[in-house]
Symmetry: C2
Subunit: 309 residues, 2 copies
């Protein structure tokens, strides 16, 4: 068939091209706002009983998520979906697994209101933080209207914009240092392209750029029957669609999949091979892809070592 | 060869999946800031001789760019690269063809400083706009520090965030309305996937998500020897790399390519087939792909019909 001949020629040639771009090494953000946001990000007063901060589930020292299947909110309540990493989230088309927040600022207030996460609300948070004279001074020095609900989420979003992790081994490789990857890692990258992982995990964030069905070629329904994008659009065809997650720092963010069902990188690569590209996983190939995935770990964002004034 | 068998199986299956996601229909932005930004976007005082506004080259009634090869700046000076569309630019990984601005705010001041574009600078702009009592009042009502250089670009960026064009025929199709595309358009989309256009033009913006070489399979050097991404990174390997442009509203943004050398959609699809995927274009196929591309034209952003107070 003519199509297949074309497809082979094309695919072979596309394998020569890198469909992923490196992260910038000089991320731009408003430092004053971001440092205020850093403080808020780590502040448990954002939760009803002053126990849970953003950083409770998005551990900045450990991949930007926690390492459990579902996070725990106030009163030890268990969440229903795996916490995604906060790192490099500025490059996602939207926030949350189902994309229900269009940007980082819109995202920031939702866990505050979620009864099984922080169980609070922006009015309550505002009233608590207003009592803190340090915050008053800091907000006043940045925002015309000083401390407001909107400015709280704006500062958190600005901090998150600073959470970019550049200079992974793979980014160094993309920038031209062909020695940055070893033989096995290079073979893994080749397989990542050949096996079509790159069809969804591409662009600057190696994902985060579209919604895709979990279970394209083999039906997958998780134990909680999480409907994903359907919850936003209420369209039957969006059932089991989720935002394709970034693969940056993936080594640090186990367990995997929206339901946290895949314990390690081998499990998730096996799962993806089977459910997303409909192939029987080859042990040797999976090993190489895992080696490649481990080259996607970047540097700690500079803002994490800057102390607030 | 085993690889080819796999590739065929994989590619055939991938064709079933949509690697593009529709734009949101309810774009979120700060309306007060965005309306101020709209006024600034249309204000020729941003240029040295009060003749050129952002809207001079990014015509909002006509695809968000002008329809000439290179735009003209002050004193009828001709630019060196084709003006990209301002629509949906919030979804690009960076701004400008070479990605030298990380976000919309960083982008906004550069044409002001470019001697062959607006030929001014932010100090001059600030001093001119400060004399306008209307601006004084408006900025004061939004920003703590009233009118500043940073707040000028912040407001312009917020306006640009509102310039999203949802509900194209193709987005309706992606949302589940299979009648939104006719037979030829559907065949065009199939070819767009089969021929590998989708490898770079994917995600929410159908492009805008990575840098790629112009001339992957056939060398292309334009008349001005535009080096693209190399200008930012100074790495030999980045020569002739450009940000993959969004294909949204592509029907409205001729001429095409960074050098504006391709007059219409037929020309650019022929060019891409030859230079990017190394195939001889088939007239009938090109026609179908062009029909598909015309389904990517979205609705006029709501903010364009909102009048400033």
């Amino acid at each position: 068939m003519r199509l297949y001949v074309l497809v082979i020629a094309l695919f072979t040639s596309l394998l020569q091209a890198d469909l992923i771009s490196p992260l910038p090494t000089d991320t731009k953000y408003d430092q004053k706002k971001a440092l205020l946001g850093k403080k808020l990000f780590n502040d448990p007063r954002l939760s009803a009983d002053d126990t849970i901060s953003c950083a409770s589930c998005h551990l900045l020292e450990d991949g930007g998520d926690d390492n459990i299947k579902f996070s725990f909110g106030i009163n030890a309540q268990e969440g229903v979906i795996n916490s995604p990493t906060v790192f490099n989230s500025r490059y996602n088309l939207s926030q949350f697994w189902d994309g229900r927040a269009q940007d980082l600022q819109a995202q920031a207030s939702q866990p505050i209101h979620n009864p099984i996460e922080m169980g609070s609300n922006m009015d309550e948070v505002l009233s608590k933080l207003k009592k803190d004279p340090e915050y008053s001074v800091e907000f006043k020095s940045i925002y015309k209207d000083a401390i407001t609900k909107e400015n709280i989420t704006d500062a958190i979003a600005e901090f998150e914009k600073a959470l970019v992790t550049p200079n992974s081994k793979f980014d160094q490789y993309l920038r031209g240092d062909k020695t940055a990857l070893n033989k096995e890692e290079k073979e893994g990258y080749k397989l990542f392209k050949e096996n079509g992982c790159i069809a969804c995990h591409n662009g600057i964030n190696i994902g985060g750029n579209l919604y895709q069905k979990v279970g394209i070629l083999k039906t997958y329904v998780d134990k909680k029957n999480t409907l994903g994008r359907y919850n936003v659009t209420k369209k039957e065809k969006d059932k089991y669609f989720f935002k394709v997650p970034t693969l940056r720092n993936i080594e640090l963010t186990a367990p995997y999949l929206h339901d946290g069902s895949q314990k390690n990188l081998f499990d998730i690569v096996n799962f993806m091979t089977l459910y997303q590209i409909g192939m029987v996983p080859d042990k040797e190939e999976v090993k190489k892809i895992v080696s490649f995935l481990k080259t996607l770990t970047g540097e700690t964002p500079k803002i994490m070592s800057i102390n607030e004034k």
